[in-house]
Symmetry: C2
Subunit: 330 residues, 2 copies
Amino acid sequence: MAVPRVLVIPGDGIGPEVTDAAMYVLEKTLDMYGIDLEIRYAEAGDTAARKYGEPLPSETLRLAKNWADVVLKGPVGETARDVVVVLRRELGVYANIRPARSLPGVVSVAPIDLVIVRENLEDVYAGIEFSVPGAAFAVKVVTEEGTRRVARVAARYASSRSGRVTIVHKANVLRVADGLFRDVARRVLEEEGVAVDEMYVDAAAMEMVRNPSRFDVVLTMNQYGDILSDLAAQVAGGLGLAPSANIGDGKALFEPVHGAAWDIAGKGVANPTAMILSAAMMLEYLGYREAASRMELAVEQALAAGFTTPDLGGGLSTMDYARAVAKFIQ
Amino acid sequence: MAVPRVLVIPGDGIGPEVTDAAMYVLEKTLDMYGIDLEIRYAEAGDTAARKYGEPLPSETLRLAKNWADVVLKGPVGETARDVVVVLRRELGVYANIRPARSLPGVVSVAPIDLVIVRENLEDVYAGIEFSVPGAAFAVKVVTEEGTRRVARVAARYASSRSGRVTIVHKANVLRVADGLFRDVARRVLEEEGVAVDEMYVDAAAMEMVRNPSRFDVVLTMNQYGDILSDLAAQVAGGLGLAPSANIGDGKALFEPVHGAAWDIAGKGVANPTAMILSAAMMLEYLGYREAASRMELAVEQALAAGFTTPDLGGGLSTMDYARAVAKFIQ
Ligand SMILES: CC(C)[C@H](C(=O)O)[C@@H](O)C(=O)O
Ligand SMILES: CC(C)[C@H](C(=O)O)[C@@H](O)C(=O)O
């Protein structure tokens, strides 16, 4: 196999710090397993917008599209839409995979271990908005093909887990749009031999707090996935822990679920776990399963041993925590 | 004042049971305060659909629109949209008021005491959907006037509480539609002298679990309000406790946030608190503030004294719980 090409975009706010920390743990893992990656850095976000006049500089987009196999991206600030929604579209990464699970040593609201598979390119995120005097409109878009391909990804995840998918929608009100998503998703999942159930999105938000362990794989539309994944991350113990993978048929993009957190930026106190786990998801995607598991396990071992950053009640700096995690990679 | 006319729609599933229980407590309150209401009953929901071929029989709609001052409605089943979304539109009740607060004797995820003011007639609930081969669409509608009137309601609630409103939207992605809602709402609230802040809907879902006491009045769009109000109800201790008021410039409709719960229907175990508190919101709306407070206090006293239905770990039947609550009205 050719050496995989990784484009790293540190992003804004705490982005550079959590990226440094994650790269430290990643390098240690690569060494340990003798994995070779070609790594380049690029800029995007509020800071890039100030420097170059555009949040997603054309050189960054070019590298992401034409050079990189995968992108590892930190959080971006107020320009997030122009960076991440555009990157998702340009890279064709139609499935957003967001695992949420209770971790040792971390207080979760309730035991949780699920994966949200969020459709990533359609819905009100398709960017179709317009206005007339006194009113504004956004069009929610659902296509059969868009639903089919993301449902296939959910089926794949289900088959490596419990084999169960919950489709989350609001087809009791949105009979046509959510109805299409529900029907097409159900057909694909049933064809793939997956056990399917359904839940309305309002009920799903409630269940995510009441009894999250009833979920295994959750397949849902773009905006419901946005909301439910933040919620699930919080139930699992906080946004600082939640990684994600955006995958398509060619490229892939890995990023923490959290934002730029400008309020704590530059202080060295940010929790880099989400970014470390995003890097682990990237290794897994690239086929380095053992190395990926090792990184995840190292995070669990560090947390279980009480190594934590201030958001989880600990006293470690971002880099000291990363060093603690890296020590478990051996 | 003329005797207020109340149309009671018991609805489906546990609807008739929780309605009986709520009417028992309501009658006791009316007696106690010498309040006269003219009460009539009407049918709507899945059962009505089977009996009359339509979930919202025209006689029910006629009574709601032309006879009643207010409607007190139980939950309805799978036909909910054809009953409640239609009733909301026909009655012009553009603001949906959903309080969520920790109650004595009830385990809440975190201390919470907020009111969600949900725009109730626009957004993707406007009913504009269409499809072409292979794709389906729904149009999210936001009008200036629709936003203004619901923002004024939020301002009213804020002024009787902390004077603070959080506008919840996703204007970083939906710049035009959510942007209009955010801008118009902010302008109205600032004109009314209310302190305003904002939050993205995904972050709001997270905060609803992490730190719900940071919210006081939450002003949001129809579907975000649907999701966040179920979530807030669960954080406060469960859907069995969450009442709501749908108000407009003329009519008003009161209903529990929960659904028909067919699985426990007919067993006499449903928690009627949400329906009792919805009746209290109705009294308050009709100007009987003291009686309304008395009903709410009676619920709190009963819960604090350990009287609870099975969903909250108690052993009381729906009616025994109602009798326990009514005993505190004296
Ligand atoms: C920043 C924003 C555009 C983005 C989204 O809504 O998808 C973020 O919230 C996320 O979930 O990755
Ligand atoms: C039943 C459904 C149409 C309704 C809604 O989505 O408004 C319900 O969930 C609610 O919140 O009152």
